[in-house]
Symmetry: none
Subunit: 163 residues, 2 copies
């Protein structure tokens, strides 16, 4: 019960005037090795001011995790409610979007708003999933390890942007 290919690495890409952004090739290659899809699912990250993103293979895994958890707690009075909540968050609170032949997605306005994504999108591999951040918000996040912030500063400088 684990996905074979993992998301790793980081990249900083531009969001154009239409809200389009290239999904880094090294992330797309993981998606396409996990399955034959060319879509990603976006959700607000549960603990950070950022977006969580994944592919259909992980969505299926997440679904079965929720089902298994529910079956385990059977008989518990609160469990049914907990299940309904998890399930809605996992599916209703997400948007699935395709990327085109050149690897670009259009950030849906709601997600762009939830993740507070401006004109720069920072992609971070996180194993089974990846994340999309506004780099400025990551640098301002107290719970973020300093090593991680260093990497983001490097990515910004690489583009000639002063932090």
């Amino acid at each position: 019960m684990a996905l074979e290919h993992l998301f790793q690495g980081s990249a900083l890409n531009a969001v154009d005037a239409k809200g389009r952004v290239s999904v880094p090739a090294f992330l797309r290659s993981v998606i396409e090795r996990r399955g034959d899809a060319r879509t990603i699912t976006l959700a607000k990250h549960e603990s950070f001011p950022a977006l969580s993103a994944y592919d259909p293979a992980y969505a299926a895994l997440k679904h079965s995790k929720i089902e298994r958890l529910f079956e385990k707690q059977e008989g518990d009075a609160d469990a049914a409610l907990d299940y309904q909540q998890r399930n809605l968050l996992a599916f209703a609170a997400t948007e699935e979007i395709p990327y085109d032949s050149s690897g670009r997605i259009v950030l849906p306005p709601m997600m762009r708003n939830k993740g507070r994504i401006d004109d720069l999108a920072l992609f971070l591999g996180a194993g089974e999933t990846f994340q999309i951040w506004n780099p400025k918000l990551l640098l301002a996040e107290p719970a973020m390890p300093e090593d991680m912030k260093d990497i983001v500063r490097f990515r910004l400088e690489e583009r000639g942007i002063k932090a």
Copy 2:
């Protein structure tokens, strides 16, 4: 749950103008015995001014360790944050790069910067993983055993470089 083949030995290789380095053949052979991949993952070493490197098999091991730890503490509020941090450091703070048919990698600029690698790359086997150093920084490292420094001095002299 341990890896069968271990990285051992040392070598000093040149970094060319394009940032390319040959990964020593004795390290590559371990990677290829552990799995069928021809890539290595680079990260800043957590305590030394150097890079830590490993293969996909070790990355998968690291991932499952993190997942197991998290599932054991489920429900704990602090555990969730700890998990997020570990996960990002393990995956977002790393870069996976392939080596070509002649066994060379290109050091990504960010990693070359983080590891302060100049025109010489010192490879050190470290069991489950291996390390890549700027030899000068190793010789200047107080926490490094003298016997280890002797080996590095030997590798430098071997190349006709005076320390």
